[in-house]
Symmetry: C2
Subunit: 256 residues, 2 copies
C-alpha cells in the first residue's frame, strides 16, 4: 500500500523540488514503484525530470479541477519505476477555483485514492506557500518531509510550518506524521550551517534525519539537462546523499 | 517625490529579502530617506533589520485591512534614514480578506500615497508567489526590481513573472517599468552561474544590472544578528555589491 509523503516548506528555495526529484528517483532506481506529484504551478519537478512547459498536456490541474481520470495525467520518466503527474501555470487557477468548493482541502486526497495501491511511495512537491495547494498535499499525505536550508531565515519559518501541520492534523488528517526534517545545502566551509544544524537538532530531537544533503553543484546542474542527479552524475556527493536518505526512510518505514 | 520599487519574483529563495534589506540600507547610509515595506507574511525583511516576531505590534496588515493610519505602522531601524513597515503572519489573513474587496489590487497603493512625499526611495519586499500581495506591490510601484538567482530553475520562472508584470501594467498600473534584473548568488567557482548570466543578458538586453551580487557568506550571516550586512561587515563583498547597486540605480534614475 503506497505511502504518501508531502515535501513542504513555505520558505522559498530550501530544496523542496531538489528533494522531491532526487529522492523519488533514488527510490525508483532501487526498483521501488514511485509516483512524483508536482503540485507547484512553477512546474520545477516536471522540468527536473525532463518535461518542459510546452510538452505538458494533461496535468494535475485537469485531475483536480476538470475531473479528468487520474490515470490519464500520469506520465513516464527516464526511470522505469518512476512516474510523474506534471504541473504548469494552469495550477495557479486551481487555488482560485477551489476557494469556494465544498471539501476543497480534500480534492487531491480524493483524486489520489484510486492509484495509491499501484505505488510503494508517492512524493508531492509543494509550492513555497501555505495556501490551498500545500494544505491539499498535507491532507492527502501519511507524512510530511520538511527540507530545511541551513540558513537563518529558513529556521525562522519552521515554527509557522509546524503550526500549520498541527492544524491540518487536528482538522483534516489526524494520522498525519512528520517523516522528518532534512538539513539541505549544508556547507562545510561556513559556521552558519553547523550552527543551524545544532540548533535544529536540539529543538526537534529525534525528528531530524541523520542524512544531511551537502551543497553540491551537480544537484543544481542536473535540472538543466532534465535529469535527476542520479542519472546526471551518480557518483556525485549530491546524488549519493539522496540515495542515503532513501535508505534511511526505508529503514524508518520498517520500524513504524 | 519618492520612487517606489517593488522587489518581486515568485521563485523562492532567489534573494528578494536580502536585496530589499541591503539595498534599502545602502541608500539610507548615503543619507537618502528610505522606507522598506515588508509585504511577505514570513516577515524576513522585518527580522533582517532587527524586529523579531514577538516585537511586532502594528504592521502592514493593520494599515491595509484595519485601516490604521500608515504613519502608525512605520518604525525606526538602526540606520537613521531607514524606516520600516513590518510584517508577520497576520498578513496571511490579508490575502484572504482582500479576495472579495472592490479595487483589492490597489489597497497598498492607496495606503502608501500619503507617505510617498516623505521619502526618496521606497522598497517593497514580496512573498514567493504571484498572489494578491505581490499584485498589490506591483500596482503600487513605479518600477520592479527582479532578483534572479544564477540557477536553472530560477531562469524558468522568469517568463511567467514578466507575463504577470505585463498584465499588471496593462490593467492596473500603466507607468510600471522594469528597474532591472539583478543577478544574485553568483558563484565564481561554477560554470552554471556564468551560463545563466550569459543567457539572461542575451535574452533581456539592456535590462540586466551591470552590478552582480556574489555568493557571500556574510550576507547570510547578517540576518541572524538582525542587521543589514553594511552594519554587520561593511567591507565584505556582499555589503559592497549592494552599495554598488544603489549607485547604479541612482545613476539610472538621473537618466530617466
Ligand atoms: N544541495 C544542493 N546543493 C546545491 N544546490 C542546490 C541544492 N539543493 C537545491 N539546490 C539549488 O538551489 C535552488 C533552490 O532549490 P529548489 O528549487 O529545489 O528549492 P525549492 O524549495 O523547491 O524552491 P521553491 O520554494 O521556489 O519551490 C535550485 O536552483 C536548486 O538547483
Ligand atoms: N548573495 C548571497 N550570498 C549568500 N547567501 C545569500 C545571498 N543572497 C541571499 N542569501 C541567503 O540565501 C537565502 C535565500 O535568500 P532570501 O531569503 O533573501 O531569498 P528570498 O527570495 O527573499 O526568499 P523567499 O522566496 O522565501 O522570500 C537566505 O538564507 C539568504 O541569507
Ligand atoms: Mg520548488
Ligand atoms: Mg524573502
Amino acid at each position: 500500500m503506497g505511502r504518501v509523503i508531502s515535501i513542504a516548506n513555505q520558505k522559498g528555495g530550501v530544496g523542496k523540488t531538489t528533494t522531491a526529484v532526487n529522492l523519488s528517483a533514488s527510490f525508483a532506481m532501487s526498483d521501488i514503484k514511485t509516483l512524483l506529484v508536482d503540485a507547484d504551478p512553477q512546474g520545477n519537478s516536471s522540468s527536473g525530470v525532463g518535461y518542459n512547459k510546452e510538452d505538458i498536456q494533461k496535468n494535475l490541474y485537469h485531475a483536480i479541477i476538470e475531473e479528468v481520470n487520474i490515470r490519464e495525467v500520469i506520465n513516464d520518466t527516464d526511470i522505469p519505476h518512476l512516474k510523474i503527474i506534471t504541473a504548469n501555470t494552469d495550477l495557479i487557477g486551481a487555488e482560485i477555483e477551489l476557494i469556494n468548493e465544498i471539501a476543497r482541502e480534500k480534492k487531491l486526497k480524493d483524486v489520489l485514492q484510486e492509484v495509491i495501491p499501484d505505488y510503494d511511495y508517492i512524493f508531492i512537491d509543494c509550492p513555497p506557500s501555505l495556501g490551498l495547494l500545500t494544505v491539499n498535499s498535507l491532507t492527502a499525505a501519511h507524512s510530511v518531509l520538511i527540507p530545511l536550508q541551513c540558513e537563518y531565515y529558513a529556521m525562522e519559518g519552521l515554527t509557522q510550518l509546524l503550526k500549520t501541520i498541527r492544524i491540518v492534523k487536528e482538522n483534516l488528517n489526524p494520522p498525519l506524521q512528520i517523516e522528518g526534517i532534512l538539513l539541505t545545502m549544508y556547507d562545510l566551509r561556513n559556521n552558519l550551517s553547523q550552527q543551524v544544524a545544532d540548533e535544529v537538532r536540539s529543538h526537534f530531537k529525534g525528528k531530524v534525519f541523520s542524512t544531511i544533503i551537502p551543497r553540491n553543484v551537480k544537484l543544481s546542474e542536473a535540472p538543466s539537462f532534465g535529469k535527476p542527479c542520479i542519472l546526471y552524475d551518480a557518483e556525485s556527493r549530491g546524488a549519493q546523499s539522496y540515495v542515503e536518505l532513501a535508505q534511511e526512510i526505508l529503514k524508518n518505514g520498517k520500524r513504524n
